[in-house]
Symmetry: C3
Subunit: 315 residues, 3 copies
Amino acid sequence: MRFDIPVPVSFIAGLIGAEIVGNKDGAAIGINEIHKVENGDLVFVDHPKYYDTCINSAASFIIINKETDCPDGKALLITDEPFEAYLKIVNHFRPFSPSMKMISDSSSVGENTVIMPSAYIGNHVIIGDNCIIHPNVTILDHCIIGDEVVIQAGTVIGSDAFYYNKKTARPIHYKKMASCGRVIIEGCVEIGANCTIDRGVSADTIIGAGTKMDNLVHIGHDTVVGKNCLFAGQVGIAGATTIEDEVVLWGQVGVSKTLTIGKGAVVYAQSGVKDSIEGGKVYFGSPVEDAREKMKEFVWIKRIPQLWEKVMGKK
Amino acid sequence: MRFDIPVPVSFIAGLIGAEIVGNKDGAAIGINEIHKVENGDLVFVDHPKYYDTCINSAASFIIINKETDCPDGKALLITDEPFEAYLKIVNHFRPFSPSMKMISDSSSVGENTVIMPSAYIGNHVIIGDNCIIHPNVTILDHCIIGDEVVIQAGTVIGSDAFYYNKKTARPIHYKKMASCGRVIIEGCVEIGANCTIDRGVSADTIIGAGTKMDNLVHIGHDTVVGKNCLFAGQVGIAGATTIEDEVVLWGQVGVSKTLTIGKGAVVYAQSGVKDSIEGGKVYFGSPVEDAREKMKEFVWIKRIPQLWEKVMGKK
Amino acid sequence: MRFDIPVPVSFIAGLIGAEIVGNKDGAAIGINEIHKVENGDLVFVDHPKYYDTCINSAASFIIINKETDCPDGKALLITDEPFEAYLKIVNHFRPFSPSMKMISDSSSVGENTVIMPSAYIGNHVIIGDNCIIHPNVTILDHCIIGDEVVIQAGTVIGSDAFYYNKKTARPIHYKKMASCGRVIIEGCVEIGANCTIDRGVSADTIIGAGTKMDNLVHIGHDTVVGKNCLFAGQVGIAGATTIEDEVVLWGQVGVSKTLTIGKGAVVYAQSGVKDSIEGGKVYFGSPVEDAREKMKEFVWIKRIPQLWEKVMGKK
């Protein structure tokens, strides 16, 4: 999440009750998680395993639960509960204050765009020209929709990330990571009926220009989809994944989190992608392999009885 | 389904045109199917295969299409068409009489709960405090939602059970089992966008406290989900299944009906659970096996060509 | 798509700027794609590979980008861009002019049919008697719903076909094939919550009488489903497929495009049907095989280590 204007680190420290070590005079431009963090951002870390990564990341301001050395020009904000501090910052700068109108007064809708009945357009949403937003679509706060976009009925854009912190000591084990990111849908994208595209936790979920999705497709938080991709019905993509341009995913394909699918890859129906795969190739299986190798495997399996007979003397 | 007050068995017999054998003076507290039946309940049976199970179940009143011996203190209600009798009872005590307002006057909404635009709240729904019900959500009659529950946009709570009686003799083969059960969602549950949770046929579908579900998840009728479970996107669970506490189901997992998944089990993405599995273990495959055993199987399959060459002398 | 009245071919030629070769005096009754074309129809073809098939199909009028011989009684409409000509014809006879009311004045709703709040009924929709259309359902223009049909909440009927022409030379690779077909749902059908049924591209998607679908089911454009079928939750069927009567598809089954599943076939959960399969049999696997053969395969795979030990002397 980018703040509307840079926010003095001293204000942030006051808000979350933290002590500042290092550069006390800086101003933060936003807050992000470690995968998406940029220069000028706040980041938070509460697990020793990730201390070094966060301190040495692009982030300028690190909310941390241990006093340690601070690199030149950066600041550490020391507090016992970095996760709670993150929630406080999000709630302060992006408070949940939902529009109770079907189309929020703070949203902006382009020329020749049709918003059909019972479509909900939240606060600060921007929709481009020549779009069709079908009935019963929900577009939540801060999402951005380009020109010539079609969203079929019942689809949800900007639902919260499925992202929880585990606290098994408590009766309720999972504490929600508040979502303050957006969904950005570029021009000429078409999204089928009853799809769901989650907003980024603190960065953006992006659907590249010209990409087309069939019905009941799920796209997780912070996932970045390239241009001119084709996703068939019931495809599901987990969070923080990168799908490069011109990738084709056939029906019911599942893609795991944080991986990359290279440009132009084709994945056959019902396959499962659990690690990054190169572009320009065709894949099949759960987990996926090169499609032709996978097909050969089916033939080899059928030969086991023949092998058995030869070796064991009988079936 | 529990009646509002106990109903004399003589009234029920009159309603369905049945003859009473046994205890003519009792009163029924509700009606349930055989899997969920309790002491004081009505149950119905029309197939000789299930006569004994129903007569000897906890049910106090058995609607049956054959005159037979009645255990002490119970009553048989003899009628040619027990299934039609069941439908008559449901239609009498839970007539379909949908609210035509977006929020029914007979529903109750707790403090600080936000109901966003175009969300539909049916008759006799009870929603707790501090909930967020997002746009275009549908919560149907008699469902109960606890405190601190979040339901993302487009989700449907309390759709009818997918449960039909087969009558192949008729041009239309399937006759619907009317759903008179509820969905009960306990506190601190979060449900993603465009999910569907069916009501119980005559008992309740229950989602335990602290459980979190991602988008496009389907939960069948009468399924009972424990506390602090995590279900990733596009998981599907059939009817009358028991998922114990702290179970984790990754994306696109499918779970068959009437089985049990033990406490703390983890099922990897795209797996299929067709029989009950023990808790505390990790599973993979369709159908599932121990995940490590399944992984080894992938290695063994890759060795078939080598075996073939050794045995057959060439590939 | 059938025109309201037969349209002189000379009018069509003028509309799309084509030259007529052959029968200049005919009138077209509709426009269809090659799989669905009937006598009296227009069809279009822009790829030499399909010239002969289209010219020799049942179509009476062929929009084509090459001057060639015309069979007696037919007409060729010669134009450089047949695909653009198709779009012009669809936009002329079925312009996108969405109703901005929740229930369009041009729709027709039968006796005792209940349309619940926030359900959208588009232009020229016809709904029969004794139906229940639940909240937040979307039924788009020209769809036809028979008697005694139940559509659970959140379902979308008549979303656009997922059908694009690839034009890789352009920055946006895919150009949408405008959908002018319908969805026809016959009597006594029940459709679960948050399902999606796409309209035909130029013909009709049909759901046969008595068929029942669970939640989150996807049916592609131009697919024809027979009578008394049962589809469990999260089934996905691609476009232009034929499912004969009494077919049972269990949960999360995927079915590829343009194939046929024979009468009474049963396909077990999570299977993938990629080619046509015969009726009256039971299938399992992805891709599917005879279910019993597939089960045996699982047993054979488990025997590989034993084979290996015998042949190689050790595991």
